[in-house]
């Protein structure tokens, strides 16, 4: 799973019928402190994450293992919203 920051929302009218009603968020992978890096990607949100939240995303066929994404054309899903990250015994990120 990747640690990622929610940076925006994708809105689409014309999409596969299995995606109807699914919330598609734009994310960027972050380092262990929550600082974004790399290119953005899109994942289905099953947990009502908000912009600015740090989340965990599962990829590939693992992205279809939630009740909301099963058998859907989806390769990335938000499966956890991060409360805090601890590195070297220090809290390096805390959800506000």
């Amino acid at each position: 799973m990747f640690i990622a920051k929610v940076i925006g929302t994708t809105i689409s009218t014309i999409k596969d019928e299995k995606l109807t009603g699914r919330k598609l968020l734009i994310l960027r992978q972050t380092d262990e402190t929550g600082a974004p890096s790399g290119k953005p990607y899109v994942a289905v949100d099953t947990l009502d994450a908000g912009i600015g939240d740090l989340v965990l995303t599962a990829h590939g066929s693992s992205g279809r293992q939630t009740a909301i994404t099963s058998n859907s054309p989806v390769d990335a899903v938000i499966m956890a919203v991060i409360d805090h990250l601890e590195v070297g015994g220090q809290v390096v990120y805390r959800h506000q």
């Binding site: 992205g63 991060i82 990250l85 070297g88 015994g89």
Partner: protein, 96 residues
């Protein structure tokens, strides 16, 4: 599988019901000598690994082949703690 070092812990309250109770560790891939490479990722810990240890991680659908992660939205698991690594006849890493 990848060789990776455990660098921290991710704590999450809001998460997919299938991964309730799973221990989520933050890792960084390493070379055989234990030098860290690239961006961190998160994996479900199956072997009670500790911070600083070198471990092996299984990825993609292979990560769902354990009793704990079967049918879960999980794409990475820690399935072994490394005791030592031998490259070209030399022990290049030994667990302390």
């Amino acid at each position: 599988m990848l060789i990776a070092r455990v660098i921290g812990t991710a704590i999450s309250t809001i998460k997919d019901p299938k991964i309730k109770g799973s221990k989520l560790l933050i890792l960084k891939q390493t070379d055989p000598k234990g030098n860290e490479l690239g961006q961190p990722f998160v994996a479900v810990d199956l072997v009670d690994a500790g911070e600083g240890e070198l471990v092996l991680t299984g990825h993609g659908s292979s990560a769902r082949q354990t009793n704990i992660t079967k049918d879960c939205p999980v794409d990475a698991v820690i399935m072994a703690v490394i005791d030592h690594l031998n490259v070209d006849g030399q022990v290049v890493f030994r667990k302390e």
